[in-house]
Symmetry: C2
């Protein structure tokens, strides 16, 4: 009988990958906190209505890609496929409207989509996510883009991506354009794939978003929304660009960059991976001023969001051979060869750790050779061996594994000796508790 | 039509609560990393077998408390109710056996239990979790207890808890004791509650774990396992205590501290809240040397784990009025009263942030009064207002909101002026990217 394995296309994130996750989360969090964003977490499970009310019927996400379950009271629950709708639900339900506005929120959350698996994409995937809720000012769109632009540059992906922007205005006002677009494609029906013909029926705007070469050419010829923009919308878009220029963000306008849902408004943007990796996007975002009315039917609460796919960033960092420091190096390693020696090693280990030295002790007691091998494999810098004699004499041999030398040190001097030997920078001074608690 | 609300007994973790979560995670992570623990994450969804094979049938968790779903291929999946089984699944499936042993793993994970809601308990709850896998040495049990003991003391809960320990040896060897225990309770059947009678049938050991007063008295009179311990088990338990003494951990032996599953072995321990809050435990752990054979049927892989309930720790910190520093204070706040002023404020805001000053700018343009009110509510220290004149003259009035004074500063001197005014400690020097990337 084999072991039950993990659910297909889900992932175990092992320590070596967590190095990257930790790094990305730190950079991301720090940048967002600096910009006044606060963290929020919503549950993994939501009522299905949170997503269906947002009018997603007719999209793949609602129709095919959700993990559904029925609870004991016959309520339909789903594992959240995304977070704009839950966050808006939470914003309204918890009355964040009574806080100073706009509200800046961020989160690092798993999302769940039961879709066709692809490289770098899992059915449970993590996203780095930020939203600004309540205000429609174009300066916010620009700021959000700037923050992500900076994050990508900071983590070492400069030159690996480009920023694409576009505007799709809002539903009511883009009707005229959609008519024009539909007319254009109606005359080209013989050139369209089955998928495209379906889009022509249900959501013509999505025709511009294609990966089929012939259709990409068509999309370039298709009528452009910019010609149909009314004053308010033009102004919003122009200002976004002005602010981006002011912040030295390089971007590219792309009128084929569209998103299909009818509560999306104004600015859409995408950070496109330009290295030719299989997934062509690190993340994207848009304004969605009309979502709140879908959920709440009461008030329009403008908002803008942007998210990165954690797994794609990790892949890109690895592809580019960007190495993350493993802070878990060992500067002091104890070997013990006798059961009684454990009682000496244990408090010494603790003491060394309290003195900020990265310390590990070998606990099990096979041969000295096996233990030295482990010390080598772990790349330990200084090794102290405690056997019967050492237990009694309080004088230890300290072996420098790098220089292949050995020195005799008294027990009481050991900690100071190691501290004098290892780099200051490799001591671990940080003490979160005293840093955080107000006395 | 009301807004769809959150799923009953699930929680939105709002920014104010995240302050505590962040703090707890930082202390916890730091302490564990120092002790050579590495982070792992397993998926939210697992095959149901991962839990049923671990022989949990007959427990409430399997029978009543799991969120189940069936996927498109008719596989039974569950939202993980705990993590020892998934971690062991992951350890075997990913061949962590080929790493240097023992493997030290930690995680901060949501777990899901569809049980009766209680105060401080949600159906999705977060646990701080640590495991040591592969080795049976009692020094590991003691180390794990010591780490958690230190974490609880560090976060400010000293005197708020006590550590209880016990040993339950392993299944085979505790049969004799279970017979004795059953005999004892058989003669007292008339004193037992319905729940207790059920335990007598299915799992007599759990009779000792009761909250009914009469049954607590019975449990104290019941035969004690310590009398039945064989040599190996006694030695393990004695050593755990010796090591705890060596590390100055205060603990209490409690022979009624038991856990019912048959793969648990040797040491069990619990951190009991002694403040009289409704939940009586911050967390617990035990050795579970026999789990791997339940899942794998091949090799016995000893392990020990311990976890805290995040929500209970947050409640305790709040009850005890332990305040966590909100690092998001604002030292510099820009008010703009003119659309063109935004173009001055935006780069200035960025520049100030690059200089590590905690800066926020008001973007929407109601009255000056409304903006000053917001600056006050956010407790901003220095406020700079930019109107038509300021946009042209490059000289700003900097208002000190604490001292109620005002100074005239040139634009180019502004950053240095603020830096000279605010405490060094409130500048935000940390730069995770350069701290982590190896050049």
């Amino acid at each position: 009988m084999p072991i039950p394995n993990k659910v297909r296309w889900m992932q175990d994130i092992l320590p070596e990958t967590h190095l990257y996750h930790t790094f990305l989360k730190k950079v991301f969090r720090h940048e967002l906190r600096k910009n006044w964003f606060k963290r929020i977490t919503t549950p993994v499970l939501e009522h299905k209505e949170v997503f269906t009310w947002a009018l997603w019927e007719g999209t793949d996400i609602i129709d095919k890609e959700m993990y559904n379950l029925i609870d004991k009271k016959w309520r339909e629950l789903v594992l959240k496929p995304e977070s704009t709708a839950p966050i808006m639900r939470s914003y309204i339900e918890n009355d964040l409207l009574s806080e100073p506005q706009p509200v800046f929120l961020y989160y690092v959350e798993p999302h769940f989509r039961y879709d066709r698996p692809q490289k770098g994409r899992f059915r449970q995937f993590f996203q780095l996510w930020a939203e600004i809720i309540w205000e429609q000012d174009p300066i916010l769109d620009a700021q959000l883009i700037y923050i992500w632009y900076k994050v990508l540059n900071n983590i070492g992906l400069k030159w690996e991506f480009k920023v694409k922007i576009n505007t799709i205005w809002s539903l009511k006002d883009r009707q005229k354009y959609l008519e024009e677009l539909t007319n254009f494609y109606e005359t080209k029906k013989h050139l369209l794939s089955e998928d495209a013909l379906r889009k022509l029926e249900t959501n013509p705007l999505r025709l511009l978003d294609t990966k089929i070469e012939d259709e990409i050419i068509l999309a370039k010829e298709a009528p452009k929304m910019s010609k149909f923009l009314k004053k308010e919308s033009k102004e919003h878009y122009t200002k976004v660009k002005e602010y981006l220029d002011l912040l030295w963000v390089e971007y590219e306008e792309d009128h084929t960059l569209v998103r299909g849902l009818d509560y999306y408004t104004h600015t859409v943007f995408e950070f496109v991976d330009n290295s030719g990796r299989s997934q062509d996007s690190f993340g994207w975002g848009w304004r969605y001023d009309l979502l709140s009315k879908k959920l709440w039917h009461k008030e329009e609460i403008p908002a803008v969001w942007m998210a990165f796919w954690m797994e794609r960033l990790v892949d890109a960092l690895r592809d580019k051979w960007i190495l993350i420091k493993n802070k878990d190096k060992i500067d002091l390693y104890f070997i013990q060869l006798w059961d009684e020696a454990k009682k000496i090693v244990l408090p010494l280990t603790i003491e060394a750790r309290e003195a900020w030295i990265n310390t590990l002790s070998s606990l099990w007691t096979p041969s000295l050779k096996a233990q030295m091998k482990k010390a080598n494999r772990l790349n330990a810098r200084y090794v102290v061996m405690i056997w019967v004699m050492e237990s009694k004499s309080w004088i230890y041999q300290v072996r420098d594994m790098q220089e292949w030398t050995q020195e005799e040190i008294k027990k009481d001097d050991l900690i100071e000796y190691i501290k004098s030997k290892v780099w200051k920078t490799s001591l671990d001074f940080y003490c979160p508790a005293s840093d955080y608690i107000i006395n």
